[in-house]
């Protein structure tokens, strides 16, 4: 078990899922892969297929339409997997708190490991969140 998680923390492959975000968080997430920030030095890769993913990056306010898809995708991730909520919307629904379309926050639907606040969070904040995730899961080994 511990070797599994240790290796996972050395190469977390990331799947990026938007549940109705305004795309700012998505742009900032993609920023982390650019030469300026280069998240591949931690072994992180952005993968296109959910079956290859270890970390689910969720951005957006979880509206009614996308929650069904998100649950389906969460069931498809090969376990063990980690979930990161990016942005204020994913963390606490932000300005959509009282909206008819976003009844439940993300962490009431699937277990979230790390929250990265910000609207949108800076790439530095996302990298800090990734490091915190690695430290948090690493300390439980």
């Amino acid at each position: 078990m511990s070797l599994k998680l240790k290796a996972l923390l050395k190469s977390p492959w990331v799947f990026h899922l938007s549940t109705g975000s305004c795309n700012n968080c998505d742009i900032e997430t993609l920023d982390c892969l650019t030469p300026r920030f280069d998240i591949e030095r931690f072994g992180m890769l952005l993968v296109g297929s959910i079956k290859h993913a270890d970390v689910l990056l969720v951005s957006g306010s979880c509206n009614r339409m996308s929650v069904e898809r998100m649950k389906e995708l969460f069931e498809q991730v090969p376990k063990p997997c980690l979930v990161v909520a990016i942005g204020t919307c994913a963390g606490s629904r932000g300005i959509f708190k009282d909206s008819y379309n976003c009844p439940v926050p993300l962490d009431k639907i699937i277990p979230v490991d790390v929250y990265i606040p910000g609207c949108p969070p800076k790439p530095e904040a996302i990298i800090a969140g990734a490091v915190k995730l690695i430290e948090k899961v690493g300390s439980t080994l």
Binding site: L3, A7, K10, E40, R41, G43, G48, H52, P78, K79
Partner: protein
């Protein structure tokens, strides 16, 4: 003894060198893009992590074929790598020849096609059918180019091909240079790297045939790719540079040849956009086949 060859040379040595090669590839790619790049052990972490993950079998997929396809692929690579190592170092037992090598080198592509069609995913089927077209496209020029050393050395035995280059390597002839250029581009397509990564175009049909693979299956496919990344340049070195040589100063030449071929492949991969499948077929059946035929004619004239 055969078992030792298979495990020590075919699997262990090839896997280690293949993982190092894949790290070189990723690091050079990162440096070309002004990034830092992954740490040295990154390919090992990836494989270990994938081995520990859960295997998800898609509903309605052909279970046995889906699970056995990566194993078929890696067995093909292990067999062909063993063949090369044995021809390199030993002179007794089953030596195999050029035809066996060409035949075994087609197995990894076949296993990817098999796995893609077995996984019952539209993207995987699309990727598998593209892979099939790509195989049909590159096999003809690749075989013609690999025929040049056979004509030059008058033998299909790999050990004879290596020995007959003791005086001068085949890459020194005009026919050898032409054949080497064709062979490197075919290796690019065999490894499914940009510009010929049409089967697994990541931005288009997310990883293609291996889209449904997870856990150990994906780990074996990745390991197979990495081992192929060592085996194919090794084949080119045997055919055109007289094999790996470890006596005195020649060890430097061997490393230079190997790293040179890998660097050429990586630089081509980093400086080209992806082509369409029809463009790839036209490229391989048109100019590449013509150059390969010219090389074969020149070789039969003794040039």
């Amino acid at each position: 003894m055969t078992f030792v060859y298979l495990l020590v040379f075919g699997f262990a040595a090839t896997a280690i060198l293949g993982l190092i090669t894949s790290w070189i590839d990723r690091k050079v790619t990162a440096r070309v893009q002004y990034r830092v790049g992954p740490p040295f052990l990154q390919p090992v972490y990836d494989i270990v992590k994938l081995l520990g993950k859960e295997t998800v079998i898609p509903a309605g997929a052909s279970k046995v074929t889906f699970l056995i396809a990566p194993v078929i692929g890696i067995s093909g690579v292990i067999a062909v790598a063993t063949l090369f190592w044995v021809n390199q170092f030993f002179s007794e037992g089953f030596m195999g020849d050029w035809i066996v090598a060409i035949y075994l080198l087609a197995i990894p592509s076949l296993s990817i096609i098999l796995g893609g069609f077995a996984s019952r995913n539209p993207l995987a089927s699309l990727g598998a059918s593209r892979e099939m077209k790509l195989v049909i496209a590159y096999e003809l020029p690749f075989i013609l180019a690999a025929l040049v050393p056979v004509i030059n050395s008058h033998s299909i035995r790999l050990s004879v091909i290596i020995d007959s280059q003791a005086g001068g390597v085949f890459a020194g002839n005009i026919s050898g240079i032409l054949a080497l250029i064709v062979a490197i581009l075919c290796v690019q397509a065999k490894l499914a790297l940009v510009p010929f990564d049409i089967p697994e175009a990541e931005t288009e049909i997310v990883e293609g045939p291996i889209v449904e693979y997870s856990g150990p299956g994906l780990a074996i496919f990745k390991l197979m790719k990495n081992m192929l990344f060592f085996t194919l340049p090794f084949f080119l070195i045997i055919l055109f540079f007289g094999g790996l040589r470890f006596n005195g100063i020649n060890i430097l030449w061997t490393i230079l040849e190997y790293v040179g071929i890998v660097a050429i492949i990586t630089v081509i991969r980093n400086t080209n956009p992806r082509v369409r499948i029809d463009q790839a077929v036209r490229f391989f059946w048109g100019p590449m086949t013509l150059i390969a035929i010219v090389a074969v004619i020149l070789a039969s004239k003794g040039l």
